[in-house]
Assembly symmetry: C2
C-alpha cells in the first residue's frame, strides 16, 4: 500500500470536474494524497470504441440535464461550455510539469483550470488561456508557455495516457487505489470504503 | 406526483440485476411503489450508438471485475452467465402480463428470473426456462407459454420499449420518478434523495 492514489481525469470531462471537488477531501480523510493525473480521453475512446457522451443520442440530453442538476446539488458552478468537448493537451502538460515540482500547486492549478472551463465557460484550449490561469496561481507565465510547447512535456502526456490505458483506465474520472480501479464520479463512495479498509 | 415510479431494466443487464435488489426497499421506505418495466436494450443501443459493455475493450474487463466485487460487496449471488448478453423478450413479455394482474407477483417473478440468469448462470432465453421460473412462483405454466408466443404481448413489449426510448431511457437500469430520470445502479442514492423530497 502506498500513501498516494491516482486520480485520472480529462479536463474536458464534466464528471471529472465534479469529482475534482471531492477527491482531495476524500484523500485527506483517509490520511492519503491524490495524485492528479490528467490524460487524453481521445486515445481511450479510440481503444474502447466510445465517444463523447454529449454526441450520443439519448445519453447526450440525459447528461446535459444531469450535469446541471449535479452542479446545483453540489453547489458548484456549472456551465456547459462552448466549444465542448475540446482537446486539453496544454493544461494537462502543465499539470505534469507543476506536479514534478510541487504537487499541491499542481492540484490548485488543475482546479483553477477546471473552474475556468466548466465553472466560467471559458475555452481552455489555447496555451495563452492556460498560461493566464497558471499566472493566477503564481506560476511564471513564460515558463509555462515554454513547457506546453516543449516536446519533452508533449511526450510525457502521451506516455501518461498510454500508461493509463495499459492500467485499464476506461473513462474519466477513474481512480486507482492500491491497484484497484474505480470508474466514474458515482464511485467516490466506493473509493471511500476502500480507503477506509474495506475489501471485497 | 404519483404513488409509483418506473424502474426500467433489461434482464440481460448486470447493473439492472444489482439494482433490482434495492429498488423495492427503496420504494417502500418512501411509501411508494416501483413499477418494474423490462425493456429491450437493443433498440436503445441502436438509437444511442452503444453496445454491450462486455464487448468494449477496456470497459469490458473493468465491468467483469466490477460485477464480481459488487456481488461480493452486496452479498448477492453473482455468476457471469454464458451466453451473455442475450435477448430477453420472453421473460419481459411475461412480466407485463403478470403485472396487469398482480404487480407484486410480477416483481417476485422478475426477481426470480434475474436470479436464475445472474445468480445461477442459467440461460433465460428459452420460453421453457422462463415458464419453469414462472411455475416456481405459482403461475400456470401453459398460460405463460401461450403469452410469450402471443402477438399481443410481443407488441406490448415493443410499445413499452418504444415508449421508454421516447422518455429518454438511455441504459439499464433507469428510473423515472415524477418525470425525473436517473440512469444507473450508481444513482440509487440520488433517487432516494429525490424520493425523500429533495429537489435540485
Amino acid at each position: 500500500m502506498t500513501d498516494s492514489f491516482d486520480f485520472y481525469f480529462d479536463f474536458s470531462s464534466p464528471y471529472g470536474y465534479f469529482a475534482s471537488h471531492r477527491v482531495d477531501e476524500m484523500a485527506e480523510a483517509a490520511g492519503r494524497t491524490a495524485k492528479w493525473r490528467p490524460f487524453m480521453l481521445g486515445p481511450v475512446f479510440k481503444q474502447s470504441g466510445n465517444g463523447p457522451l454529449i454526441e450520443q443520442p439519448l445519453k447526450g440530453p440525459y447528461c446535459i440535464h444531469d450535469w446541471e442538476r449535479r452542479g446545483r446539488m453540489m453547489g458548484v458552478d456549472w456551465v456547459l461550455p462552448d466549444p465542448f468537448p475540446i482537446g486539453t493537451v496544454n493544461a494537462a502538460r502543465a499539470v505534469y510539469w507543476l506536479d514534478d515540482q510541487d504537487p499541491a500547486l499542481a492540484r490548485r492549478f488543475a482546479k483553477a483550470v477546471y473552474h475556468t472551463y466548466f465553472g466560467r465557460g471559458i475555452d481552455i484550449t489555447p496555451a495563452a488561456t492556460v498560461a493566464d490561469v497558471a499566472a493566477g496561481e503564481g506560476v511564471d507565465r513564460d515558463a509555462v508557455l515554454a513547457v506546453m510547447a516543449d516536446p519533452v512535456w508533449k511526450q510525457r502526456l502521451k506516455d501518461e495516457t498510454e500508461h493509463a490505458v495499459e492500467l485499464g483506465v476506461c473513462g474519466s474520472p477513474f481512480f486507482i487505489v492500491d491497484g484497484e480501479g474505480f470508474w466514474g464520479s458515482d464511485r467516490l463512495w466506493m473509493v471511500r470504503r476502500w480507503l477506509s479498509g474495506e475489501r471485497w
